[in-house]
Point group: C2
Chain length 262, copies 2
């Protein structure tokens, strides 16, 4: 039995998220069903991040155990031939037999994209939150700095969570304006890298930071929210469409920084 | 009666093109129906370029005559509230009463985007032709230079055309690699600006240029095709999805160069 490490991209717009569900279309079901056709029997595919409904991935990592001897490059071609166009596998590689995409991950990089233009570009609409106003990035950076470090992020956790601990380590949290796009849209992007993330954590952080930016909360509020550990005091959850799982890091690896350059 | 000049963006993927048709969804029908709701009676909207099925627009220009006194900024909001998300109006302005978006246009800028990455990005898939290989841009530029000037483009005209003349003037035709995108995709872009374009002209030019690039035709072939004026000798028509009407120019205006910067 081999363990294969897959790198996946998807436009999450038309999916109920990564995780297989009974009555909804999931990325996991598509990926598992395509691999099962090759393997000749059902398989389980584990992903580093169980992205929510509507959330995208630029470099999701997944692991699967296979008995079939198909070469990795042939597997990439065979899966892309079976997947719908909004899901692609960009790489497959042999991994150590014990490799588990979720349990072995030591870091993740998420990006949250906000469209500042007054009118929402038809070309960006699936991949941004349209805030339709300029943003004070200096104020956002100042407030975001309070997130860096090891904290209890219970205040930023979505409901329906059952996790062992709500303590996570954030190594960077920064705002930038994206370079000019072919669609000439002005997009702000929040990049946050950490040891792991609670359910809805990035989206709740973005929703809260925008209230700080708009002046409805003081910049020091983030520290207070972390101390209070009370979800009802944080801001609204930003829409899923702006969120992208950009990279996953494993022991001995640097984050792949996909999307930063080529 | 006022004449209003509209600037429109659309993702053409799910449309049969600009022009209203009996049994297909068109951009024109959506725009006319939304304006008719405001005007209180049917209107005719003329566009600078009658983009084909699947072709996009970053700055299509359209004109309409209105009796209603709605302010231009209110018209923008009212139309965007009625349009589906893949069509947006980015601007509306009073024009001279005689202004006609199609007949008055003196230049158009089209872009054709080609995705070079081996795997087709789910984020770019609606807006590129996936050629999945590197391209020799120097060779493409050399061949494209033969298009510049005033020529009879009958060889690059699609079928089902009924135009007075097939002579057009091309002022520039250039290849470039797009700046890094958030999706880290490598995209080549062909920008062609001219006095006007025949049906399928840009797509047939791109299909032919790619045969030159791949070595199946000599670089000098373009001049020969223009002389021969025979469509059957030109290359295949590149897919609609890669084509974008980027800007339209009117007398006394420079092309707006939307998409080049901010």
């Amino acid at each position: 039995v081999r363990t294969i490490r897959l790198t996946l991209q998807y436009d999450g717009t038309d999916y109920a998220g990564w995780q297989r569900q009974d009555n909804a279309r999931s990325i996991q079901a598509i990926v598992e069903d395509a691999i099962a056709e090759i393997e000749g029997k059902p398989v389980t595919v584990m992903a580093a991040g169980r992205t929510d409904a509507g959330v995208h991935a630029l470099a999701q990592v997944a692991s699967v155990r296979l008995a079939h001897g198909i070469a990795c490059d042939a597997l990439v071609r065979a899966l892309n031939a079976r997947f719908p166009h909004d899901i692609r596998v960009t790489g497959a590689a042999e991994a150590e037999e014990s490799f588990h995409a979720r349990f072995d991950a030591v870091g993740k990089l998420y990006r949250y994209r906000l469209l500042l233009d007054p009118v929402a570009s038809p070309f960006e609409r699936r991949f941004v939150w349209h805030v339709a106003r300029p943003l004070d990035l200096a104020r956002l950076d100042l407030a975001s700095a309070g997130l860096v470090g090891t904290h209890d992020f219970a205040a930023f956790q979505g409901s329906r969570s059952a996790v062992r601990t709500t303590v996570r380590t954030i190594v960077s949290a920064e705002w930038a304006i994206e370079p000019a796009s072919p669609w000439s849209s002005r997009v702000a992007v929040f990049s946050i890298e950490g040891s792991g993330f609670l359910r809805h954590m990035v989206r709740t952080i973005v929703g809260t930071l925008l209230e700080v930016e708009g002046g409805r909360r003081p910049a020091e509020e983030i520290a207070g929210l972390l101390r209070a550990r009370n979800r009802t005091r944080a801001g609204p959850t930003a829409p899923a469409r702006g969120l992208v799982l950009a990279a996953v890091r494993y022991p001995g690896e640097r984050p792949s920084e996909l999307g930063q350059g080529r």
